[in-house]
């Protein structure tokens, strides 16, 4: 089982090595990178490329590790018992499976995406150590042990909002998705917009890199932004010559897709003002 990228996802060699190592050794792969460089997309593409199902677990600040395993709904059992519902005799009725349980019990290989693990509490990764390491966990309420017959491919993404504990990191492979360079970006755009006019592509990417290189930007536009922007350009059928905007405006056409922050827009307007003088 090897991942070689897909028709709609350009994977660098370093990324492929990391993914294949994680698949072969059955360890989780931790993916970090600037927002919008395709971290989450990676898991979906691995699933597509290998023809596997994907189970997504999106982490929020309130997510507890236990929710990934199972939840015991004590309150509704209590209510049922008060109402005399016979369901309450069987505790299994009140145990809700979590995503990890789903992945372990799938019976075939699946891709498990744990998205934005850094959003959760600091202790969250520690609580999943054993579960991810041994691919099994214990359900206290029923006394069962849930064990994965086939280990899932685990992809974990992080935006670096919190540091992850060392013990957790030691069990993972790690990959940092760099912002792509011009050639790779061209490839990526080609994959998403086959048959785009070459001069438009060149003009767009040059402008994009100019925008990105501008010092002092609060939020640098990244891959997903450039794709959105080019989608707009293609839809509007913009002429490459017009892309630079008019002389009194340094902002590129349809800049809303690239600059997401009014301070950044102001910065560009100021630059334009200075260029005019």
């Amino acid at each position: 089982m090897r991942f070689e990228g897909t028709a709609s996802y350009v994977a660098d060699k370093d990324l492929m090595v990391a993914v294949n190592a994680a698949i072969a050794l059955e360890r989780p792969l931790l993916v970090k990178g600037e927002p919008g460089t395709g971290k989450t997309e990676l898991a979906r593409q691995i699933a597509t490329a290998l023809g596997l199902d994907i189970i997504e677990w999106n982490i929020k600040s309130t997510t507890k590790a236990q929710q990934g395993l199972y939840e015991y709904d004590a309150v509704s059992r209590l209510r049922d018992s008060q109402l005399g519902d016979s369901r309450f005799n069987d505790i299994h009725n009140y145990i809700k499976r979590g995503k990890l349980w789903d992945a372990f019990a799938a019976g075939k290989k699946v891709v498990l995406l744990i998205d934005e693990i850094d959003k959760a509490d600091i202790e969250f990764p520690n609580d999943l150590l054993q579960e991810l390491d041994r691919n099994e966990f214990f359900v206290y309420e029923t006394g069962e042990t849930i064990r994965a017959e086939v280990r899932p491919i685990v992809i974990i993404t992080s935006n670096n909002e919190k540091e992850l504990p060392d013990a957790f990191l030691r069990r993972c492979f790690f990959h940092y998705i760099r912002f792509p360079d011009l050639d790779t970006l061209k490839q990526i755009v080609d994959v998403h917009f086959p048959g785009i006019k070459p001069d438009l592509l060149r003009a767009a990417l040059t402008t994009f890199f100019e925008v990105r290189e501008t010092p002092g930007l609060k939020k640098k536009p990244s891959t997903s932004e450039v794709l959105d922007w080019i989608r707009l350009l293609v839809a509007e059928d913009v002429d490459p010559a017009d892309l630079r905007g008019d002389a009194k405006n340094a902002l590129p056409k349809l800049h809303g897709a690239l600059l997401k922050n009014e301070q950044d827009v102001h910065l560009f307007e100021r630059l334009a003002f200075m260029a005019r003088r």
């Binding site: 050794l25 909002e161 030691r170």
Partner: protein
Amino acid sequence: MFISFFLELKAAKVPVSLREYLSLLEALKADIITYDVEGFYYLSRATLVKDERHLDRFDQVFSHVFKGLEGLEGADILSPENLPEEWLRKLAEKHLTEEEKKLIQSLGGFDKLMETLKKRLEEQKERHQGGSKWIGTAGTSPFGAYGYNPEGVRIGQDGSRNRRAVKVWDKREFRNFDDTVELGTRNIKVALKRLRRWVRDGAQEEFDLPGTIQSTAEHGYLDVRTRPERRNAVKLLMFFDVGGSMDDHIRTIEELFSAARSEFKHMEYFYFHNCLYEGVWKDNRRRRAEVTSTMDLLHKYGSDYKVIFVGDASMSPYEIREAGGSVEHWNAEPGWVWLRRAQQQWPHSIWLNPVQEDAWKYTASIGMIRQLFDGRMYPLTLRGLEAATRELSRKS
């Protein structure tokens, strides 16, 4: 295998453990890569590095260990470190023209050339570590003729070499992520989070599930319990140095300020200039008109406040040591007296300095203030901030 690489990584403070090393060996055994150096680089990077801040250091070590600068004599020939020289040789052979190959012969053969090249690389490395930029070898260098590029092993001018041939680890693309560099607000917020202290305080508004279950079980009927919400109870007082030499650091300080503002509900801040004296102010434009007495602050804010002074501490020593030393006004008592008082009132106080740590020793006043703070001065970098918050959150 690769033990020396592993040890060098450890020596370079890349946090690697035996477990990672074993996974690397396991991965090599699993034939994930097939005998190519670049693949090995990627694989070892994915296994051994767990944080992008360490990637740069990893690249340096990798280039150092596998460049074949060391340990190539005699018995080491069979060790894996040998690889890059082979690689060099191949590259060179592939890309040298016949003429150039003859030129190599005239210089004493390939081995001789490689030796000189190695020496040159070594020199280059040292000079680089000395802090200045890498110097191209064009001109007088015998390698100039072959278009030798010190960034990698680009030997041979013709033959358009694609980008991949330059050793990726020598490009050091991850330089930015080393955690000794300065920070953006998001990072600061994360660092400041360490200061949080959760306390349940105030009105009982939150549904307390475990408490309800407990009490229901005890009473035998549904007994709903509530409890107060969790709040961050830490109190923070910040003093910012403004104007003068601080203008160089405005952006960093702004970021720190905005991060702290949004992170802490109980945050108070005041401005001072160079050193703490009898008055501070809240609004920089009206600093002359609305001065708050420092004595009042000392009485107003209790010793449970955590106090952060932010300033470059770069001034004339007189401004700290002597009465009347201030550059702006006549101060009846010297600056150090006020700093001492602040320390006594607020035991949890530290000084953050935006000046780079290695430059501290060149300014006498930095040393003085550092001493006044018993060494609790930290550079305004991520690591410094982390150390500072750890110090502040220590229970006395």
